[in-house]
Amino acid sequence: MADRYSFSLTTFSPSGKLVQIEYALSAVNSGVTSIGIKATNGIVIATEKKAVSTLIDDSSLEKVAIICSNIGMVYSGMGPDYRVLVNKARKAAQAYKRVYMEEPPTAILVKEIASVMQEFTQSGGVRPFGVSLLIAGFDEKGPMLYQVDPSGSYWPWKATAIGKNMVNAKTFLEKRYNEDIELEDAIHTAILTLKEGFEGQMTENTIEIGIITGAVSTKDDGAVILPEFRKLSPSEVKDYLANIA
């Protein structure tokens, strides 16, 4: 039954689904796992950097992306679709800055990206994006972690996983997460969660971790300074990996 309604994105199936979006979610669920954990003083997002061959120069492959100084993003699913969304997100953040001369709050940027993803579920001749995104940002309301799906729906999370191993990873996180977790513990937990479903050897070159931490401060003239999102360098990742060995 689903097959008769699955070829056109803009046609609902009798059960009320848009089958193309279901298929997009399958593309996401066959992608490598990504984790996001919100701590009291920051957020960590992490993913596997699965190189298809040992000949690939994985130092130049970037999965965790910085969108603007206070927001970072990671994905599960199709890499090329992700690149397009990273560019759109970066442009949206700069457009906001052109008007207001400040960084966008996380929720506003998430809404923008989610609208873009939704557009591609309601236009002719296009297909949905085959990625789910984990967006981590720090604004005046504090640290916020959001997941955005191919359909364009988004949710805030305290801790979550997307991709291949998400069911096991989320069970693992449910046990280990508590509201008072601090960033150092969160990074440790994220690495352990990734390790659960990791195929092969986990080294500082096969995982990517991004963090945002700090506090919102104000300069004398009233301008607000937000914490900056950054990726952990391979040597920092190596230190964390040594701690869990």
Binding site: V99, Y100, M101, P105, A107, K111, T218, G222, A223
Partner: protein, 201 residues
């Protein structure tokens, strides 16, 4: 800019700001209304003053009301005065080669109740001031009055006196402004708007 006339001034006091404007609307020499104040509330603690061509005053006050409301709905918080200043600036620059004929003044308290004032020119160049800003056909006279009368850390009542005297005496030397004045003093607890009777000529 000298078709309808008008004057706006804003000053910083101790944990307070004040913004004042005249109430005249004219068509060159002929006064057609004495109830045309040029200050508009953007948020409970921020006001925008818009002197200049009256049709642009009306249109821009409505445009800014729209943008501030959308901001409040999307971001679920009130816009800060500094952010509003940049919003005004980018809105004006959008019309760089066919500008709005207004020179806005923004005055308010930010979320820590720190005073903030600034003015922009008709194409959006922001002038962040620490003491006072002036705008309109009476700007030269206002510069003179404010420079002599203003001092730092005035209490709200004293700030009201200072800004009122600056405005009243400046517009008396400008035929295109006057016919009454409206003064708004913004403090962390309350906002008081007073209407002044001045020389009706």
């Amino acid at each position: 800019m000298e078709y309808n006339g008008g004057a706006v001034v804003a000053m910083v006091g101790k944990n307070c700001v004040a913004i004042a404007c005249d109430k005249r609307l004219g068509v060159q020499a002929m006064t057609i209304s004495t109830e045309f104040p040029k200050t508009f509330q953007a948020t409970p603690k921020t006001y925008i003053g818009l002197p200049g061509l009256a049709t642009d005053v009306q249109t821009l006050s409505e445009k800014f009301r729209f943008k501030v409301n959308m901001y409040r709905l999307k971001e679920e918080r009130e816009i800060e005065p500094r952010t509003l200043a940049h919003l005004v600036s980018s809105t004006l620059y959008e019309r760089r080669f066919g500008p709005w004929f207004v020179e806005p003044v923004i005055a308010g308290l930010d979320k820590e109740n720190r005073p903030f004032i600034c003015s922009t020119d008709l194409i959006g160049c922001i002038n962040f001031a620490k003491d006072f800003v002036v705008s309109g056909t009476t700007s030269n006279q206002l510069y003179g009055m404010c420079e002599s009368l203003w001092e730092p850390d005035l209490e709200p009542e004293d700030l009201f006196e200072t800004i009122s005297q600056s405005l009243m005496n400046a517009v008396d030397r400008d035929c295109l402004s006057g016919w009454g004045a409206q003064v708004t003093v913004i403090t962390p607890d309350q906002v008081i708007t007073r209407t002044l009777k001045s020389r009706q000529d």
